[in-house]
């Protein structure tokens, strides 16, 4: 876990000790409530299909904005009002991966979904949530590749 961004590592540590299903659910609901709306300068409804997470039935969207320090700020929208787990996942990714070193964000594995939601998550839902993680990871990987190209040409 050493390679995870600090905040994510801390959060996963919290979940590691949470064996009670209800306690975990309460914490996740609290996190879901913290999801911030997408600012207008990023996107307005109807959201573009490019930002849509494939196969996430909760209708999730992900955007990445470059920050001055070279990291990325992530934004999320979950359009299904019953997509509570997707909202919790989005809030977690925003709070733990926005502004973190791209090299670390680019390596965050899908498995964090299982670390966070435990085996309470249905397979289909788990895959949808992993799709959100994959989007965030891909954005970081793309930025890293884009920055490497000019260096290689020098």
């Amino acid at each position: 876990m050493a390679e995870y961004p600090d905040r994510l590592r801390q959060l996963l540590e919290d979940f590691r000790w949470m064996t009670d299903r209800e306690e975990r659910a309460e914490y996740l609901i609290e996190l879901a409530d913290r999801l911030q709306p997408v600012p207008e300068h990023i996107a307005t409804r109807p959201y573009p299909p490019e930002a849509h997470v494939d196969y996430c039935e909760s209708d999730a969207y992900v955007w990445a904005e470059d920050r001055e320090d070279g990291t990325l700020q992530f934004y999320f929208a979950v359009e299904n009002p019953q997509g509570l787990s997707a909202r919790a996942m989005a809030a977690i990714l925003d709070e733990t991966l926005s502004g973190q070193p791209l090299e670390q964000v680019a390596c965050v594995p899908d498995d964090i979904v299982l670390d966070i939601f435990g085996r309470n998550i249905a397979m289909g839902k788990g895959q949808g949530l992993m799709g959100i993680v994959a989007r965030v990871r891909a954005a970081a990987q793309q930025r890293l590749v884009a920055r490497q190209v000019p260096q290689n040409r020098e």
Partner: protein, 287 residues
């Protein structure tokens, strides 16, 4: 939306409306059960007095790939405080997809006093009806259940193989991309837990959600359902039918529609579904 009785279903008595449920919240002969895909929904707020039955924690055997046995079902029934005389009303997210799954498992134990709340959680919420985070506690009951009987409503792989050879009626309720096998090979997406993509030969592809109205999760009226399953897809209600999906959850929704709403005589759910068939050695697959 027309009332349930006016929609022309073969067995309208298996459905109750949100209004009916609202009128029976205090009825000791009724137990409301929420079953969801999203494990956060019930703790975030549920119909007052409703208990949760979770498909992973409550309905599956913890070790083997199978459903709970008689003892497990009796313990579950005791926990939620029901007897064989209790009318159990299931509701949930995703147009009652998981509610019909729980309903199906209850039928394996012969609990016929079972209903689905039409529209599920979505309709209840949209109507602004009350939700609470308070978890009810009911006195444990003693429930003597029969042994689980899989013969009527559940199909196993060898039976499916025989069914295929006899050119029996099959319904694949997955998405078109899963049906064609395209989704298995999609880059960056975890596979469906199967080594091969495609579908069981002869299956008609009728995605489960076509039976529901997306805006409020209710079931479409019988005319609209007949137009899809009978006229468009050519299914015959008199012929034995097997429905499947990936693990048997979505297909229990279609099982419910075919059996109770359209009155198919013999419908079984193949819960092994694609995660079994797509991994079996030597079985026929169509793309």
């Amino acid at each position: 939306m027309t009332t349930i009785d006016a929609r022309g279903y073969a067995h309208p008595e298996v459905l109750v409306s949100t209004e009916w449920v609202a009128d029976h919240l205090q009825d000791p002969a009724v137990r409301i059960v929420e079953s969801n895909e999203d494990p956060l929904l019930y703790p975030s707020g549920h119909i007052p007095g409703a208990v949760e039955v979770d498909w992973t924690a409550d309905l599956n055997d913890p070790v083997r790939r199978d459903y709970l046995n008689r003892q497990g079902f009796e313990a579950l029934a005791s926990r939620i405080g029901i007897t064989p005389e209790t009318t159990v009303v299931f509701y949930g997210d995703k147009s009652n997809w998981w509610a019909t799954y729980a309903f199906w498992v209850f039928q394996l134990f012969g609990h016929t006093r079972a209903r689905i709340m039409d529209g599920g959680r979505l309709k209840w919420e949209r109507e602004g009806r009350p939700l609470t985070r308070e978890k009810p506690v009911y006195p444990p009951t003693t429930y003597r259940a029969p042994e689980r009987d899989d013969s009527l409503f559940r199909a196993f792989r060898d039976q499916v193989l025989e069914h295929v050879r006899a050119h029996g009626q099959l319904v694949d309720v997955r998405s078109p991309a899963e049906f064609t096998g395209e989704r298995l090979h999609m880059e960056g997406y975890p596979n469906e837990g199967a080594l091969r993509g495609g579908h069981i030969p002869g299956a008609r592809n009728i995605p489960w959600s076509r039976a529901a109205n997306a805006e409020d999760g209710t079931f479409k009226p019988a005319d609209a359902l007949r137009a899809i399953y009978l006229e468009e897809q050519g299914l015959d209600p008199a012929r034995p039918t097997i429905a499947y999906c990936r693990i048997g959850e979505r297909s229990s929704h279609t099982w419910f529609v075919l059996r109770y709403l359209l009155g198919f005589n013999d419908v079984r759910n193949y819960d092994g579904s694609w995660t079994e068939w797509g991994n079996l050695v030597g079985v026929p697959i169509e793309k």
